[in-house]
């Protein structure tokens, strides 16, 4: 019997045991970065997930775990891809003791569902998701913090307990459902941001925050990038940390008719008197080249939704550098590259739309700037051939050998998302 016949037979067995909801042929829309899988498995629970992963590993099937499919474009194109393991059916709240400020959910639970459940208790999920369809497991596996990182902190710090199914079918738990814990090695940190290459998250306990009583969104227009950066520096020096702060080139931001200036929004969260006082201080501190306006809540909320929403462009990426240096990168980008700048966090998102034939030159130009400044590099979207020629995660880090050994320790046969994460893992 050929390998293919063996696979088909096993899939038929899984279908017979678990039903059509759990096993199906892949379709075009299941492709991951140009690689089309043959099948999709959708386990209903952790035990089923264990069996599926064990089978895939033993039979050398390369899989990509997927959640809400909102970040399928993250990473390098897979080296191999035989099937998807979708966590869509493993959704739901397992435990929500509101008084503990924790919530435990199955990994396939969407950010929207968590947000709705916690809102009833006056609490907030820390996932700060770009899309309410994104799942807790997917967000943590990718590990990119949201736009309100100054308020929520790093995404990697939000997972209090994780359950992970490894490629050999073992389930392991790390951490606990408590807000403070130093019991054993902090494996949660390894799993968050590992892009599913060390195991598949099946359940997570998240830290929650009380929802602040007041929120104010300020709209800012500045004549020059430097004014925007000066404002951010002034706020940092004054200890007036906003929950989020984003500046953008006008074409990246909400339509601002008649304006060619740098525009931005600042989110302030806290008690009513605090928020009102900080808003006044920001107005006082703003350089003369910046105009500030308090937005109506629904308008402010619309801004953030718009900024968070991913847009398809020929090229896009994220750069990271110290807050005092990130603004200079924005000014150096080619003039037709659009950007959004998060000066408090030292993050600069950039994007460019145009013909594929010109994309390579733009990519080289942006990359040269990143290299010159030693900026962190993540390529988010690019034509497939360009992705293939570049590691989307940038140069290999000096720790690659340790990272490779970790990968080998947890997924020795390299069947979990092979090739998708850092090259050389």
């Amino acid at each position: 019997m050929t390998t293919r016949e063996t696979t088909v037979r096993k899939l038929e067995q899984l279908l017979a045991r678990f039903g059509a909801e759990a096993v199906r042929d892949a379709r075009d829309e299941d492709a991951v970065l140009g690689a089309r899988p043959g099948w999709v498995l959708s386990p209903a629970d952790e035990v089923m997930l264990q069996e599926m992963l064990r089978w895939a590993d033993e039979s050398g099937q390369a899989i990509a775990p997927v959640g809400g499919r909102t970040q399928l474009d993250v990473g390098n194109a897979p080296e191999r891809l035989d099937g998807l393991v979708s966590l869509e059916r493993m959704s739901g709240i397992v435990d929500y003791p509101a008084g503990d400020l924790t919530i435990t959910v199955l990994a396939g639970t969407s950010a929207g569902e968590i947000a709705r459940a916690t809102a009833d208790q006056g609490q907030w999920s820390p996932l700060d998701a770009h899309d309410e369809l994104a799942t807790a497991g997917g967000l943590l596996a990718v590990g990119h913090s949201g736009m309100w990182r100054p308020h929520f902190g790093e995404l990697r710090d939000q997972a209090l307990e994780t359950r992970v199914v490894h490629s050999d079918g073992r389930v392991t738990r790390s951490g606990a459902r408590v807000v403070k814990n130093v019991t054993g090695y902090d494996l949660n940190k390894l799993f968050v941001g590992s892009l599913g290459t060390l195991g598949v998250l099946s359940q997570v306990c998240l830290r929650l925050k009380p929802k602040p009583e007041a929120a104010v969104t300020l709209h800012i227009e500045c004549g020059r990038v430097d004014d925007a950066i000066e404002l951010a520096s002034g706020l940092r020096r004054a200890g007036l940390d906003p929950a989020g702060m984003v500046f953008a080139t006008p074409d990246q931001a909400m339509p601002s008719p008649g304006s060619e200036r740098v525009v931005g929004v600042i989110e302030l969260l806290g008690s009513g008197p605090d928020v009102s006082w900080v808003a006044s201080r920001i107005e006082e501190l703003a350089p003369s080249g910046c105009a500030i306006e308090r937005l109506e809540p629904e308008v402010g909320s619309g801004w953030w939704q718009w900024l968070r929403k991913a847009r398809a462009t020929t090229l896009s990426g994220l750069l990271g550098l110290r807050p005092d240096a990130i603004g200079a990168l924005a000014s150096k980008l080619p003039s037709d590259v659009a950007w959004t700048l998060r000066p408090f966090e030292g993050r600069l998102e950039w994007s460019w739309d145009g013909a594929d034939s010109e994309a390579n030159d733009i990519l080289d130009a942006v990359r040269a700037i990143a290299t010159e400044h030693g900026a962190g590099w993540l390529l988010r979207s690019a034509p497939l051939d360009l992705r293939g020629r570049n590691d989307v995660f940038g140069e290999r880090p000096a720790t690659i050998e340790l990272q490779r050994r970790l990968r080998e320790a947890f997924d020795p046969n390299r069947n979990l998302n092979p090739g998708r994460f850092l090259r050389g893992l």
Binding site: G99, G122, V171, S174, L187, V192, G239, G270, W277, R322
Partner: protein
């Protein structure tokens, strides 16, 4: 010449005689950390001055296959800096330079041996500080804090050490020097920085540490609420959290602790000795909104039975209220020659029932248990005072400690909130984790520390991966 003698001779030659202690009278002070139950004198203590010298020391141990144990100031509370067998101790206490202060980007790069509180002192003029503040912060080192992922009273709002470490320079157990993390928090691949923090010196030795600095809040209000019942103080904590208020600190001291503190000339804080418990609340933030929070907290405490409220009016009064809390462990030295500090965590909502159980367990074993704890985090510190010359009492202390742990685990708690596992609790790990869980942890350790020369025998139960044996050993030990 034994391998140890060879290492000691090599290091004396390479680092100088003054950097290597090897006479019994010099070594005796290194026989334990702050948990005096675990003692073993190292064969030598190396006191390097730089990352390069740490690397030389580690490389020498690695080349001769000699176990070594990292140590900061020795204030650890889990036996983490105590060897389990013949070993060389590598102490970073001479490495205490501030290497870089960057107020614009809010970080400080310091050597591992710098004392915790010195970081904040170095940047207080810029109205910034380093948030993790373990009670031993005037003595403990930043390197030790990284190893233990130390906490402190202000963890409730600001998080523990792991939330405040941006980057690390580490000497791996083979002597290689690597950098983990970046000051801009960019994560490039797996979060090795995060995995290293709290690894209790078993994955290598951090030598240079880049810490996050946070703005010092302009408004601080510190209040003390005496309660007639310990339970009521715990209930008040739950009410404050449920109201959506996150104070900077929420600390409870029970009557036994109050008595010890007030009897101490060094730590006396003016706590009312007739109260069953006091709740120390610190709120911080902006002047604009802080008074409304003070009113809410005061009202919630009163509605839960608080007898009165003491508000610190001056910096001196604030320091006095904290002096009792931070000096509580020291004050217990007056009660008995020895102190066993337990460190466990429960989900916050289970606090009232667990505190009742802890009191009952103390009574059951005829022991004096004094509770001082980070109530907002659900992090308990039952302190048992005893005399280690009394073998029967020592046995009862162990049994009571074990009973407290088991009860906390029953309600979904965990073994340690900030002191670590070390030697003290390694054998309990199999009560909380499955053999597969522990195997995953062992795999991480194996990647960094393949020969287990670096701080062997800590965190994971002994037995080379056979965790069921550790479980059986624990049961036998308790039966005895």
């Amino acid at each position: 010449m034994s391998a140890f003698d060879a290492v000691i001779a090599t290091l004396k030659k390479q680092l100088g005689e003054a950097a290597v202690l090897s006479s019994p009278s010099e070594l005796i002070v290194y026989e334990c950390d702050a948990v005096t139950m675990h003692r073993r004198t190292p064969l030598a203590v190396v006191l390097p001055n730089s990352t390069g010298e740490v690397a030389v020391a580690v490389k020498a141990c690695h080349d001769h296959q000699v176990p070594f144990v990292p140590r900061g100031a020795g204030t650890g509370l889990s036996g983490g800096a105590v060897p389990i067998s013949d070993a060389i101790l590598i102490e970073t206490s001479r490495m205490r330079r501030v290497l870089e202060l960057d107020f614009e980007n809010r970080f400080a790069r310091v050597e591992a041996g710098l004392v915790n509180v010195e970081v904040s002192k170095a940047c207080e003029h810029a109205r910034l500080h380093y948030a993790p503040d373990p009670s031993s912060q005037t003595v403990c080192t930043v390197g030790g804090n990284v190893a233990e992922n130390s906490g402190g009273p202000h963890c409730l709002k600001y998080g523990a050490t792991t939330n405040h470490i941006l980057a690390l320079r580490v000497v791996l157990p083979n002597g290689e020097v690597i950098d983990l993390g970046r000051e801009d928090e960019w994560q490039h691949g797996y979060d090795l920085r995060g995995a290293f923090i709290g690894s209790e010196g078993t994955l290598g030795i951090a030598t240079e540490i880049t810490v996050r600095l946070v703005p010092t809040p302009p408004a601080i209000r510190t209040m003390l609420f005496p309660f007639p019942e310990l339970d009521a103080s715990c209930e008040a904590v739950g009410a404050i959290i449920r109201a959506g208020i996150v104070p900077a600190a929420l600390e409870i001291l029970d009557q036994n602790t109050i008595e010890a503190v007030e009897a101490s000339p060094h730590f006396r804080a003016g706590y009312p000795t007739d109260a069953a418990a006091v709740l120390l609340v610190e709120l911080d933030g902006l002047e604009a909104g802080i008074e409304s929070q003070v009113e809410s907290v005061t009202s919630l405490c009163r509605s839960h039975g608080a007898l009165e409220v003491h508000r610190a009016q001056t910096a001196q009064e604030r320091a006095a209220l904290w002096r009792g809390r931070k000096g509580a462990f020291g004050a217990m030295g007056r009660l008995a020659p020895d102190l066993f500090v337990q460190d466990v965590v429960v989900p916050r909502t289970r606090l009232p029932e667990i505190i009742r159980d802890v009191v009952d367990i103390g009574a059951q074993f005829g022991l004096r248990v004094s509770n001082v704890f980070h109530a907002g985090d659900g992090n308990l510190h039952p302190n048992i005072t005893y005399d280690r010359r009394d073998e029967d009492e020592v046995a009862r202390v162990r049994k009571a400690g074990s009973a407290i742990i088991r009860r906390c685990l029953e309600v979904g708690g965990t073994l340690s909130g900030e002191h670590g596992i070390g030697l003290d609790k390694a054998e309990y790990m199999s009560l909380l984790f499955t053999s597969d869980d522990l195997e995953s942890m062992a795999r991480l350790r194996e990647v960094f520390n393949p020969g287990e020369l670096c701080n062997p025998g800590k965190i994971l139960p002994s037995g080379g991966g056979c965790f069921d044996r550790a479980h059986a050993r624990l049961a036998a030990q308790e039966k005895a």
